[in-house]
C-alpha cells in the first residue's frame, strides 16, 4: 500500500504529555531541526499551572505547539498532528486537533488507571477513532525493548520514550535526526550511556514509523521566505532582557535590573543574572517595590536601570513610577501581562493591564507606553524603551504578555553596529553650572548629573520641584508649569515616534485595529482573507502613549473600525478618548488564550458583510 502523502504550506504539531514526559524538550528539538532546514516557525509552550500536579491528571499536562512552513506568524490554532503521551494529554488537547488530523498515542499509557486519573472513558476513544487518524504505538514497551541491553534501570529506560515519539514525528515530516543526535551527545557528554540510549530510541521511533503503514507523510513546502543571514530562536522574555542590555551597551552605560520573581516575567531577571560577564547587575529585591526603587536609585547613580514584572507587581510599583516621573530619571518598566485581576491566571495571557500602564498612578503622572508585538521584537521595543528613557529622561513602560514571553520564532540576529545610536543626557564634567531642571527646549528633557561628578551636587526627590533649580516648591503657578512640562515632554514623543502603518488591502472599508501580541494571528487572518478576495486592512500599534501622529489620518481613510484585544475594550476606550470622531467596533476575548485565526476571520467577514 502506498503511503498517503499530504502536501501543505504549513503545519501545526503539538506534543503533549505529563510534565515529567519531556515534551518541552521534544518540541524544542523538533522546532530547532525545522529551523535549520529553513522553515519559518512559531512555537508556544503550554505549561501546567501547578509545578508538580499529580501525574496523569489533566492539571499536569504539559504541551508544546509548533507551527512551521512557508510563512508563519503565530503558533497556529489547531494542530495537524498531536502526540498524546497519556489519556490526560489527549483529553486536554483533543479540541485543538483539526478534523481528520493525526493523533499519535502511547497506548501503553492508556490503562484503566490513567483513564480514571484523567476523568476520561475508553468510550471517548472510540469516537476519536472515527473522527481522526489515530496511530497507536506502544511507545513505552518499544522503548524498553530498544534499550533491553543498555544496562539502564527501568525508570531511566522509560524516561527515553519522548525520543521515541520524536523519532516517529521526524519520520512523518521526513526530517533528519542528526541535529538532535548532536544535541544529545552534547547534553549527556558526561553520561555517554544515556546519550547512546536516547539516540537509539530516537532511531527506533523513526524506524517504527517507517514500517507502519497507517502513518501519513507530510511534505511541507519549505519557506525560502526568510531573509539571508544568521538566525536563532527567540522568546519574548530573553528578547526583552537582551534588548535592555543592548540599549545599555549602545549608550555606554552600566546596566542595573531591580526585580522580584513573578510569573510570567521571571525569566527576564534570570537572563540578566547570567550577564555578569557584561557587568550587568541584577538585584533580586525582597518585594516588587524594592525591585523598582533599587532601580530608581541605580538610575540616580548613573546606570541604565530597569525593573521587570507582571500585573500584580506593576500595581505595587505604581508609587515608585510616580517618583521616577517627578524626579525625571530614566527607567524602563517591563510589564509581562497575564490574566487578572488579582492573582488571576498567572500562566495565561491577557492584555488587560493597558489602563494600569497608562493611568495607574496618583497625580498627573504621564509615562510613555509602548508594546511589543512578536516574541523577537520584544528585543527592539526593550531597546527602544531604553533609548526613550535615556534621551527623554523619563520612565518608560514596555508592555509584553505571557504569549510573547514564552512563544518563540526564528530571529535574524542583528548586529550591534546597526542598532540606533542612543545619546543619553549626562552632563559632562566641568561644564559650568548644573541646573537639575533646566530643559532641552525641544524635547523638554532635563540634564542628568551623576553622583561622583564634581561641582554638580544637587538634590532630587518626590516633592514638587522648582523650575530650573529643582528646589522644593509649593508655588501654585510653578506646580502647574511643572505638571505641564511633564505632560508635554511625553506628548512631544509623537514627533519622534514612527508613523502608524497599514497592512493588507489599503482600499478596504474595514480597518482592523490592534496592539501588542495579537499581531501574528491578525496578520494571518488578514492575509488569508485578502487572498480570498475579502478586503480588510490592519493597523497595529506598538506606540500607545503618545499615539502616532498620523493616527487620525489613517483612521479617516476607512469606513469601519474594529478594535481587537484580549481585554474588555481598554484600547478601544482609549482611542475613543483620543480620537472620538470614529466609531469603534470591538472584538474582545478574555479566556487567557490568544485569538484564533478562525474566529478573527469570522468576525472580519461579518463586518465586511461577506458572511
Amino acid at each position: 500500500m502506498a503511503k498517503k502523502i499530504i502536501e501543505v504550506d504549513e503545519v501545526v504539531v503539538k506534543f503533549a504529555g505529563d510534565s515529567g514526559d519531556g515534551m518541552q524538550l521534544t518540541g524544542t528539538q523538533f522546532s530547532d531541526t525545522s529551523a535549520l532546514l529553513g522553515d519559518d516557525i512559531s512555537t508556544f509552550p503550554d505549561y501546567p499551572a501547578e509545578i508538580r500536579a499529580p501525574v496523569g491528571t489533566v492539571g499536569g499536562v504539559s504541551g508544546f505547539q509548533l507551527h512551521f512552513g512557508k510563512i508563519v506568524d503565530n503558533p497556529g490554532d489547531f494542530c495537524d498532528v498531536l502526540v498524546a503521551m497519556n489519556p490526560a494529554a489527549l483529553k486536554a488537547n483533543i479540541r485543538w486537533v483539526k478534523d481528520g488530523g493525526t493523533i499519535i498515542l502511547d497506548t501503553d499509557s492508556f490503562t484503566d488507571k490513567n483513564f480514571a486519573k484523567a476523568g476520561f472513558q475508553q468510550e471517548n476513544l472510540k469516537e476519536i477513532y472515527q473522527d481522526f487518524n489515530v496511530i497507536q504505538a506502544p511507545m513505552t514497551t518499544l522503548t524498553k525493548e530498544t534499550l533491553v541491553n543498555s544496562g539502564l534501570d527501568n525508570k531511566s529506560m522509560v524516561r527515553s520514550k519522548n525520543m521515541f515519539a520524536l523519532g516517529m514525528v521526524y519520520c512523518i515530516f521526513d526530517r533528519p535526526l542528526n541535529y538532535t543526535e548532536k544535541f544529545l551527545d552534547k547534553k549527556f557528554v558526561k553520561k555517554p550511556n544515556i546519550a547512546e540510549s536516547n539516540k537509539k530510541t530516537l532511531r527506533s521511533g523513526f524506524n517504527y514509523a517507517v514500517t507502519i503503514h497507517a502513518m501519513p507523510s507530510y511534505r511541507v513546502h519549505s519557506s525560502n521566505s526568510l531573509e539571508k543571514g544568521r538566525y536563532r530562536n527567540m522568546n519574548g522574555n530573553t528578547a526583552a532582557a537582551w534588548g535592555l542590555l543592548a540599549a545599555a551597551e549602545k549608550a555606554n552605560l552600566p546596566f542595573f535590573l531591580g526585580s522580584y520573581p513573578i510569573t510570567p516575567a521571571s525569566e527576564i531577571l534570570v537572563e540578566i543574572s547570567l550577564r555578569k560577564d557584561l557587568g550587568a547587575k541584577s538585584f533580586q529585591a525582597e518585594d516588587e517595590i524594592g525591585g523598582i526603587v533599587t532601580a530608581v536609585g541605580a538610575s540616580f547613580a548613573g546606570n541604565l536601570a530597569a525593573t521587570s514584572t507582571s500585573g500584580p507587581g506593576l500595581a505595587l510599583k505604581s508609587e515608585a513610577i510616580g517618583l521616577a516621573v517627578i524626579t525625571e530619571l530614566p527607567l524602563v518598566i517591563v510589564n509581562v501581562q497575564r490574566g487578572g485581576p488579582s492573582t488571576g491566571l498567572p500562566t495565561k495571557t491577557e492584555q488587560s493591564d493597558l489602563f494600569q500602564a497608562l493611568y495607574g498612578r496618583n497625580g498627573e503622572s504621564p509615562v510613555p507606553v509602548i508594546a511589543a508585538s512578536t516574541p523577537s521584537n520584544c528585543f527592539d521595543y526593550a531597546f527602544e524603551a531604553g533609548k526613550i528613557a535615556l534621551e527623554h529622561m523619563t520612565p518608560v513602560l514596555l508592555l509584553t504578555d505571557g504569549f510573547l514571553a514564552n512563544g518563540t520564532e526564528p530571529w535574524k540576529i542583528p548586529s550591534m553596529a546597526d542598532m540606533p545610536v542612543i545619546k543619553h543626557k549626562i552632563k559632562p564634567k566641568g561644564e559650568g553650572e548644573y541646573l537639575p531642571y533646566k530643559r532641552d527646549p525641544e524635547t523638554l528633557a532635563r540634564e542628568w548629573a551623576i553622583p561622583g561628578t564634581e561641582g554638580y551636587e544637587h538634590r532630587v526627590g518626590g516633592l514638587e520641584k522648582m523650575d530650573l533649580t529643582g528646589n522644593v516648591s509649593y508655588v501654585p503657578e510653578n506646580h502647574e508649569l511643572m505638571t505641564k512640562y511633564r505632560a508635554d515632554k511625553v506628548q512631544n514623543l509623537e514627533n519622534v515616534f514612527p508613523e502608524l502603518k497599514v497592512e493588507g488591502d489599503e482600499d478596504a472599508d474595514l480597518l482592523v485595529i490592534a496592539w501588542g501580541s495579537t499581531y501574528g494571528h491578525i496578520t494571518t487572518a488578514v492575509r488569508e482573507l485578502n487572498k480570498e478576495g475579502c478586503k480588510v486592512a490592519h493597523a497595529h500599534f506598538n506606540y500607545i502613549n503618545p499615539l502616532p501622529k498620523n493616527t487620525a489620518d489613517v483612521f479617516g481613510k476607512y469606513k469601519k473600525h474594529l478594535v481587537c484585544e484580549m481585554n474588555l475594550g481598554q484600547f478601544a476606550g482609549y482611542l475613543d478618548m483620543k480620537h472620538p470622531k470614529f466609531e469603534y467596533h470591538k472584538f474582545n476575548k478574555i479566556q487567557g488564550l490568544p485569538f484564533t485565526v478562525v474566529e478573527l476571520k469570522e468576525k472580519f467577514k461579518q463586518l465586511t458583510g461577506k458572511n
Binding site: D32, A35, L36, G38, L226, K228, G229, R230, Y231, R232, N233, W242, L245, A246, E249, F256, G258, R275, K276, D277, L278, G279, K281, F283, A285, E286, G290, V293, T294, A295, V296, G297, A298, S299, F300, A301, G302, N303, A305, E319, A320, T327, I413, P414, S415, M416, I450, P451, G452, E454, G455, Y456, E457, H458, R459, V460, G461, G462, N471, V472
Partner: protein, 337 residues
C-alpha cells in the same frame, strides 16, 4: 586620616532649615556635616538618601548629592545607589516610621545583605510630619493622637531587629551629643557593611522629653553607659558602677573592696556571637539598667556590593562573552543562505 580639605560649612546647602526650632534633627545635621568634613571622601562622592518623615528632609540641607524618596523606601533607594555605584559613600536618613513600619521589610533585608552604607535611624518614638500619631517605637500605653487611651502595642527595639537581621554594626547615640555622634558616624562610615546608628531624637512638638529619664542632668550619669571597645563597662558620676555577667544575665554592680575594675566586663564590639551585644542593646532604665550608647557591635564581614563587584570580575575573566554581539550569537544559531 583626614587632610582637612573641608569644613562642616562646605556641606551646608543654601536651603533654609525648616525643622521646628529645638528639634533634635538640627544637631544631627551638624554632626553629619562635621563627620563628612573629617572623612576622606570627596564631597561629590557623598550621596544622602532618605524616605519620608521629618528627618527625611535631611538631603535638602546637605550640599551633596541627595535623594528624598518615598515613604518607607529609603533602604531600597540607598541600596540601589550603592550597588549601582559602589564608589559612593551612601548615607541613608530614616526615622522610626519610615524604617520600622512602612519600610520594615527593606530595613531587615538591607541589613541581611550587608550593603556598605550608613543608616541613620532617627528614633523619636512618634510620627512628627503627620502630626503626632504613635509609631512602632512608641512606648506601650503611650497616649498619642491615634492612641487617645494609650497604645496597646509593644514597641520595636531597633537594635534587636538589627541583630535579628544579622546586623554587623550597631551604635546608639543621642541627638544633642554632637561630638560623640560625629565620632560614631566617622567609624560607621569606615566600617565596611551596613552600619546602623540609632539616634535618640527629641521631637519637641509631639513627644517632647521622651528621653528625659536618660538625658536630663539629674539622671544622665546613672542612666547612660557609653561603651568603648576594649574598655571596662563603667558608668555613674565617678564611674563607680559597672556591668558584670551573673549567670546568663547582665547585672549592675557598685565598685567596692570586693568588686574592683578587673571584675567588670570589658566591651568587645568585635565578638561575632551576638548574645552579649543583644543583652546590652536591651538594657532599659525601667529594668534597673543604664541605656547603652556608643558602638555596641562591629563585626567584619564581606559587603554585598563588594561581593557583586568580585563576582563580576571573576565571571568576566572566565567568560568568552565580551559584548552584546557575543551574547546575540551565543548558543544555537543557523544560517539561511
Amino acid at each position: 586620616m583626614s587632610d582637612n580639605k573641608y569644613t562642616f560649612k562646605d556641606f551646608k546647602s543654601d536651603q533654609e532649615v525648616r525643622w521646628c526650632p529645638g528639634c533634635g534633627d538640627t544637631a544631627v545635621l551638624m554632626s553629619v556635616q562635621k563627620a563628612m568634613a573629617e572623612l576622606d571622601h570627596k564631597k561629590e562622592d557623598y550621596a544622602v538618601i532618605s524616605g519620608i518623615g521629618c528627618s527625611s528632609r535631611f538631603p535638602y540641607y546637605m550640599n551633596t548629592y541627595g535623594f528624598h524618596g518615598i515613604h518607607g523606601r529609603a533602604g531600597v533607594l540607598a541600596s540601589g545607589v550603592k550597588t549601582a555605584n559602589p564608589k559612593l559613600s551612601v548615607w541613608q536618613i530614616t526615622g522610626d516610621g519610615d524604617a520600622l513600619a512602612i519600610g520594615g521589610n527593606h530595613f531587615i533585608h538591607e541589613i541581611r545583605r550587608n550593603i556598605n552604607l550608613n543608616i541613620l535611624l532617627f528614633n523619636n518614638q512618634i510620627y512628627g510630619l503627620t502630626k503626632g500619631q504613635y509609631s512602632p517605637t512608641s512606648l506601650f500605653g503611650q497616649v498619642t493622637k491615634t492612641s487617645p487611651y494609650g497604645t496597646v502595642e509593644q514597641p520595636f527595639h531597633p537594635g534587636e531587629l538589627v541583630l535579628g537581621a544579622q546586623g554587623k554594626f550597631f551604635a546608639r547615640t543621642i541627638d544633642t551629643k554632637v561630638k560623640e555622634t560625629t565620632d560614631i558616624l566617622i567609624k560607621a562610615d569606615k566600617h565596611v557593611g551596613t552600619s546602623v546608628v540609632e539616634i535618640l531624637q527629641n521631637c519637641v512638638i509631639y513627644n517632647d522629653g521622651a528621653y528625659n529619664n536618660i538625658t536630663s542632668k539629674e539622671t544622665r550619669d546613672d542612666n547612660q553607659i557609653w561603651l568603648e571597645h576594649g574598655k571596662p563597662m563603667l558608668f555613674g558620676k565617678d564611674k563607680q558602677k559597672g556591668l558584670i555577667v551573673d549567670g546568663m544575665k547582665l547585672r549592675v554592680v557598685h565598685l567596692s573592696d570586693r568588686i574592683s575594675e578587673e571584675n567588670i566586663l570589658v566591651h568587645d564590639a568585635h565578638e561575632p556571637d551576638p548574645s552579649l551585644h543583644l543583652a546590652l542593646i536591651n538594657m532599659r532604665v525601667g529594668l534597673g539598667f543604664p541605656v547603652a550608647f556608643g558602638i555596641i557591635r562591629q563585626v567584619e564581614a564581606p559587603a554585598y556590593d563588594q561581593l557583586i563587584e568580585q563576582q563580576i570580575e571573576e565571571v568576566k575573566s572566565k567568560s568568552k562573552i565580551k559584548n552584546m554581539d557575543d551574547v546575540l550569537n551565543s548558543g544555537s544559531t543557523w544560517v539561511v543562505e
